[in-house]
Assembly symmetry: C2
Homo-oligomer: 149 residues x 2
DNA sequence: GCATAAATTTAAGCCCGCTTAACTAAAAAG
DNA sequence: CTTTTTAGTTAAGCGGGCTTAAATTTATGC
């Protein structure tokens, strides 16, 4: 029983540290790009999912189609995304990152990795191995969880 | 060399999964409270640091004193924080969570933990041990990194 | 074909966060 | 003391996201 408590505590402590730190730096990075958080979130979504339609966006972020359309328009204006007609359904539009958009995302993601790299650079080889193994297990577990949902 | 590459990949994959998932659910939770993200962030800051002055807030979030003051005012109105005169310096104000504010934060943090608990509930006892150990090591490394900065 | 439904856009209007500038009050410096 | 600095508030105004409502264009059902 005390073991599982200790386990929980380790989890919670790490999450607190990690979330606080990473959300803060994410906030500042996005701000530094001149884009707003909702705009940047759309870029991130495109980064993960590739191209998608307007309705996908509005659904994923739980905003109206109108809102999604307006955000997309700004990103098109800024040259971060392209908006094309869906060849299968001419009512629909497909949006995707431009190379400018991809570069920006890459910068953000790399900055996200940097702190982690700094953190792990202090670890012993053995610890690194353990950490890597743990993350692998957790990533798999997350994929399984996703499947069911 | 390939080992360190694999290590990096494990880190990156986990970060991608974890960040995407946790930022999304955080966003929705905050929205569900009826507070805005900046408002909620102040509550979180108070949760971590205890009471602090207006200038601490404006510094930490890199906003003007005016902005911090306005946000705080809304949180006072909503009953989430208290604002008192600093007895040592009557120009300054100290703000801190009320019990209503604390309850809200607790809900948010618990929701944050829940996914992690779901995730780890699928792990074997051995894996759990390894994960806990990894997080402990990382949390320590983070503390050391913080010290130096 | 024709009516209806679906995908998106545009416009009007609201709320919010943020900034600057002006103001109040208290502390510190001289 | 008087001056200057510091902490915070208030008000005006801008820009952004979001919603609803109306309009447009294309697909679908019958």
């Amino acid at each position: 029983m005390t073991e599982s408590l200790q386990f929980s505590n380790s989890l919670r402590q790490w999450m607190d540290v990690f979330m606080h730190r990473s959300m803060r730096s994410w906030h500042f990075f996005v701000k530094s790009t001149g884009l707003t958080m909702p705009q940047f979130s759309i870029l991130m979504q495109l980064h993960y999912k590739g191209s998608c339609g307007m309705s996908d966006i509005s659904e994923h972020f739980d905003i109206s189609n109108a809102a999604a359309s307006q955000l997309a328009e700004k990103l098109v204006q800024g040259g971060y995304i392209e908006r094309d007609e869906d060849p299968n359904d001419r009512r629909a539009k497909q949006i995707q990152l431009t190379s400018k958009g991809r570069k920006l995302i890459e910068m953000g993601v790399n900055e996200r990795y940097r702190w982690m790299d700094d953190l792990t650079s202090k670890l012993s080889a053995e610890e690194k191995l353990q950490v890597a193994e743990s993350f692998k297990v957790l990533t798999e577990a997350a994929a399984q969880l996703e499947e069911k949902a």
